[in-house]
Symmetry: C2
Subunit: 531 residues, 2 copies
C-alpha cells in the first residue's frame, strides 16, 4: 500500500480556503499513486478554532466542506479532520472519504484539556473503534491525543487486526517536541506490532506553531519515513519499504524556524504587509529584526532608532549598523522633544518628588507611541522586542516596549537570545548581527549607566530559576532544596507573581517552551499565594 | 435544626487568611447556636484558583488549612470547600468538619467546563453520594454545579432519605443570575421533596464577581430565607420555620453593586490605595468616576482632565463640575505641548500624508501616557473608562483610552452607561453626574466636530446587534432573519471580529453580562470566519 501524509497549513476559520487546499493536496497524492492520504486533525476548520465551534453555522459550514472534499476523493481514500455534530453532540472527528462520499467517521476518544488545550470545552469523547480495509491492508484510526494516552484505543488496534495505525494530529510545537512525539508514536507501534503513521499540521495560529514532522514508525521503533519540520510537505511512502527520512535539527535551529514560521503566519494570515521594529542597539531588538528579515524579506521590515540622552554613541551606531547589515529601511527619531514636553506638563504635579521609575517608563512609552503612530500611518505591524526573562519578572514597560501587535521573542529566555543571535551569525557566515551588540552587557538605557544586572539577578542564574518556577511549578521551598540561591529565588518569584497583570496586556507571541505564558499558564492576577 | 449560611469573601491564594476567616465565621455561627454552618465552594483557596491548583505545595497547604479549621469545629458541624488530593487525583471537595476533625468528604460530581469555567482542567469528577446525620436531620451534600445538571446526584438525595440538601457554591454573577440560581434551587427542592440550602461565595476575583444571594427554598418553591447580595452575611435559619428574606433588586441596582464590589475587591485585594481617572467631560468617565467614589470614597479618587484643541469649553467645564460634585481631587493637564512635540518629530516621516486616525490615536496615547506617569509617581491605579460597545467594535485606542490596570465598565453597553448614570443621579437625589454630561451626544473629541455616530451605528441599534452576535452567537445570516438592519449587522460584525487583537490587550474589568469578553468568549485573533 502506498501512503501519503499531507502535512498542510490551514487558516483558522477559512473553511472554503482550507477545503480547497485539501482538494489540491488530495490531487497531488493521487498523482503520486497513493492509496491513502492523511490530512491533519481539524484541517477543515484550522486548529484550534476555539469558540467558533460554539457557532452552529460554523459547524454546519465545516460539515458541508467535508462533502465538497469527499466529491474529489475518487480513486484514493482520504482521512480528513473536521468537527462532527451528531445527536446534539459535537465530536472531533476523522472522516473517511472515498468514492466521492463520506464512507465512515472515527470520533476522537481522548480530549486534551490541559496546557494549551481546551477540548473538553467543545467536544464529547467517543469510544468506538474504527478500522477500514483498503488495498489489502486493515487500517486502525486515531486522532492526535488518542495515541498519547496509554491504553485503548491506541493499544488495541493491533489486536483488532490493524496492519497500520493512522493518526491525524494538530500537535503544537515546543523545543524538542518532535522527539517526544516520535517516542509516543514508537510506543504505539510497539504495542500494536504494526507501523504507525502520524500526519501533523504545520503552520502557526496566534501563539501556537505546528511543526509538522509527520512520521511513520515501524514496530521495532525504526523511523520508516519522516517529513521535514516547519513547512508543507507531501510525504509519500510504500508500506513495507523504506521512505524518505528528513534529518532532525537541533534546538536552536528549531527555535529559529518556529519563530520565523510563527511570525510569517501571523503577519500573512492577518493580512499585514510590513512590520516595524524599534532598534535600540541592544540584542533583543537586533535578534527580532534579524528574524523578521528572514521570515518576511528585508523590504518588508522597517527599523526605527529612538535615542534619548541616555543612549550611548555605541548603541546608536550599532542600531544603524544592524539596519545596514540586514538591508532594512532605517530612520532615527530622537525622543528628547517629547520627554521635555511631558516633563514640562508634569513639572508642577511632580514638584518635590525625586526622579524614579516614572521617568524611565515615560521614555519607553514615548517610543511605544511613536511606533504605533508609524503603524497607524503606514499600516505596519509593530513587533515588540521583549524576551521571556523580562516578561517573567516584569522588567518591561506596559504600553512602552510591550507595545505592539506581536511580541515575537516573548517566549525566548535572555540566555537563548544570545545563543540564537550567535547561531544566526554562524548560519550567515558573518556579522548579520554586529558582534558589538552581542558582547555589550544588557542595558535598558533609561537612566545614566544603567545595567540590567543592577535590577535583576544575572541572566544565567535567573533563567534557571524561571524555568523551574514558571515551567515546572517548583515551589520556593523546593527551589531552595534544588540548590538554587535563596536570594535569587526570593527576588525572582516575587517579581514573577507581581508581574502577572503586565503579561495579561502583552501582545501575543510564539510559544517555544513546554510552558509559555498565556493559555498554558493560567494564573490569577489577584493572588496572595507566595510560595 | 438551626442552619447558618456563611456567605463570605475569600481571597485567592490567601490560604491562611481564608482559613482564619472561616474560623471567625464558624464562631459566629456557633454563637448563633447553629447546628450546621455552610461555607462556599473552595472557600479555603478562593475561587477560581486556576493553575495554582497544579502546584502540589498549594494543594497541600489548602489541605493543612482544612485541618486547622476542623480543630475549631467543636459543638457545630461545618461544610467547608477545599481541594482534595487522593490516590493521585484532585477533587473539588466539601469537607464535613465536626468534633475537631474531618468526619467525611463529599467530592463534586459535575465539573463545569464552559463559559468562565475550566474545572475539567484541574479536577476529576466523582460519583459517590454522601449524606450526614445531625440534629435528627439527614443532610445530602452537593457542590455548586451538582444541582445545575438535571439528574443525579441532585435528584436522588430525597430518595436516599435526605431531609435537607446542602449546596456549597462559588457561582459567579451576571445580571439576573440570582433569579436563575433560585430557579435551579427550586427545581432541586421540588425533585427531592425537601428544602435546599445554597451557600454562595461573595466578593470579586479579577473579572468575576460572586454575588452572594445565598438562599433556602422549600419543596413548594417558596423562598424560606435569602441573604442579601454583594456583601458578607451570616444567614441563620431554623428548618421548618420562616427566616429572613432579603428583597431582590432590579437589574440596574445589581449592575451598580457588582461594579462597585468588583472595583473595591480588585483594588483592595491587590493592595492598591488610590485610583486615577481621565475625565473627558463625557459620560463614560463620569460614570466610572462616580462608581469609584461610591466604592472607595472620594478621597481615594483622583480626576485628571487632559484637554486638547478639540475639547469644547462645555466638556472641559463638565469635567471640572463632575469632580466638584463628586468631591474628588481634580487637575488639568493640557496635551497640546506633547501633540506638538510628536507632530514635529514625525513631520518629515509623515510628509505628504493626510491627517487621519494616526493623529486621533496620538492624542489618546498621550493621555494614556500621562495617566500612567501619575500612576507610576503616586502609586495610583489607572481606571480605564471604555464601555462594552466601544470594546466590541474596537472604537478605542490601544495604550490610549484602553490603558489602565482595571477597565471598570468594559462589560457595560453604552445604552446601559446612560441608564446607570441616570440611576446614580436618582439614588443621589440630584446631579451627582451633571445632566449636561448625560444629555450631550457622545463624541471622542479627537478631531473637530466629531461624533461617535459618524463612525458607528446609533448605540441603541448597535447594542442590540452586539448582544445577539457576541453573547448569543447568532450568525450574520440569522441576525438578518431576526430583522436586524443588514447594514448595521455587516458593519458591526466586521468591526467586532477585527477588534479581537485589541481586546486581548485590554485591562481586566467586571463581568456583568452572561457572556463577557475574556475567559467567557475565547475567539482566535487569526480568524477568517466572517458569518
Amino acid at each position: 500500500m502506498r501512503l501519503a501524509l499531507a502535512q498542510i497549513n490551514s487558516v483558522v476559520g477559512d473553511i472554503d480556503g482550507n477545503a480547497a487546499r485539501v482538494v489540491d493536496w488530495l490531487e497531488r497524492a493521487r498523482e503520486a499513486s497513493a492509496d491513502l492520504v492523511l490530512f491533519p486533525e481539524l484541517v477543515v476548520t484550522g486548529y484550534p478554532p476555539e469558540d467558533l465551534l460554539l457557532r452552529p453555522g460554523f459547524v454546519r459550514a465545516a460539515r458541508a466542506a467535508v462533502d465538497t472534499v469527499a466529491a474529489a476523493a475518487q480513486g484514493i481514500t482520504a482521512l480528513v479532520g473536521a468537527p462532527l455534530f451528531e445527536s446534539g453532540k459535537l465530536y472531533n472527528a476523522c472522516f473517511v472519504l472515498a468514492d466521492g462520499a463520506v464512507q465512515t467517521v472515527y470520533r476522537k476518544h481522548h480530549l486534551p484539556n490541559y496546557g494549551v488545550f481546551d477540548e473538553d470545552r467543545y467536544f464529547e469523547p467517543a469510544n468506538d473503534q474504527v478500522l477500514i480495509d483498503l488495498a489489502g491492508t486493515r487500517v486502525g484510526l486515531t486522532v492526535c491525543e488518542d495515541i498519547w494516552i496509554a491504553g485503548p484505543p491506541a493499544s488495541e488496534l493491533g489486536g483488532a487486526g490493524a496492519q497500520l495505525v493512522a493518526n491525524i494530529s494538530a500537535s503544537p510545537f515546543h523545543v524538542g517536541k518532535d522527539r517526544e512525539r516520535e517516542d509516543i508514536v514508537r510506543r504505539a507501534a510497539r504495542e500494536n506490532g504494526v507501523p504507525v503513521a502520524l500526519c501533523n499540521a504545520v503552520g502557526a495560529q496566534d501563539e501556537l506553531v505546528f511543526d509538522g514532522h509527520s512520521v511513520v514508525v515501524a514496530p521495532d521503533g525504526e523511523v520508516l519515513a519522516r517529513a521535514t519540520g516547519f513547512e508543507e510537505e507531501l510525504l509519500v511512502f510504500d508500506l513495507g519499504e523504506a521512505g524518505p527520512v528528513a534529518p532532525q535539527v537541533d534546538d536552536l535551529e528549531q527555535m529559529r524556524r518556529a519563530l520565523e514560521l510563527g511570525l510569517h503566519d501571523y503577519v500573512s494570515k492577518n493580512g499585514f504587509g510590513d512590520v516595524v521594529i524599534g532598534l535600540s542597539g541592544g540584542i533583543d531588538s537586533a535578534l527580532t529584526a534579524a528574524l523578521c528579515v528572514e521570515a518576511l524579506g528585508a523590504d518588508r521590515v522597517h527599523g526605527v532608532s529612538m535615542p534619548s540622552r541616555y543612549s550611548s554613541d555605541a548603541t546608536r551606531g550599532d542600531a544603524e549598523r544592524l539596519a545596514e547589515s540586514l538591508g532594512i529601511e532605517f530612520r532615527e527619531i530622537a525622543i528628547e522633544p517629547m520627554v521635555e514636553a511631558y516633563t514640562g506638563a508634569l513639572r508642577e504635579h511632580f514638584a518635590g518628588r525625586d526622579s524614579d521609575l516614572t521617568e524611565e517608563n515615560l521614555q519607553a512609552r514615548i517610543r511605544g507611541t511613536l511606533l504605533m503612530a508609524l503603524s497607524n500611518k503606514f499600516g505596519w505591524l509593530v513587533i515588540a522586542t521583549g524576551n521571556k526573562s523580562e516578561l517573567s519578572v516584569g522588567y518591561s514597560t506596559l504600553y512602552g516596549d510591550l507595545a505592539g501587535g506581536f511580541a515575537l521573542i516573548k517566549d525566548v529566555y535572555k540566555t537563548d537570545v544570545f545563543r540564537l543571535a550567535r547561531w544566526l551569525n554562524e548560519r550567515a557566515g558573518g556579522e548579520l548581527i554586529p558582534v558589538s551588540i552581542i558582547d555589550r552587557p544588557p542595558s535598558a538605557e533609561l537612566r545614566a549607566d544603567q545595567r540590567d544586572e543592577d535590577s535583576l539577578p544575572p541572566y544565567p542564574a535567573l533563567d534557571k530559576v524561571l524555568e523551574a518556577y514558571v515551567e515546572l511549578d517548583r515551589s520556593r521551598e523546593e527551589l531552595s532544596q534544588d540548590g538554587f540561591d535563596a536570594d535569587v529565588v526570593d527576588r525572582a518569584v516575587g517579581m514573577i507573581d507581581r508581574a502577572e497583570y503586565k503579561r495579561r496586556q502583552a501582545p501575543p507571541g510564539v510559544k517555544l517552551r513546554p510552558k509559555a505564558f498565556g493559555r498554558d499558564r493560567r494564573t490569577p492576577i489577584t493572588n496572595r499565594w507566595r510560595s
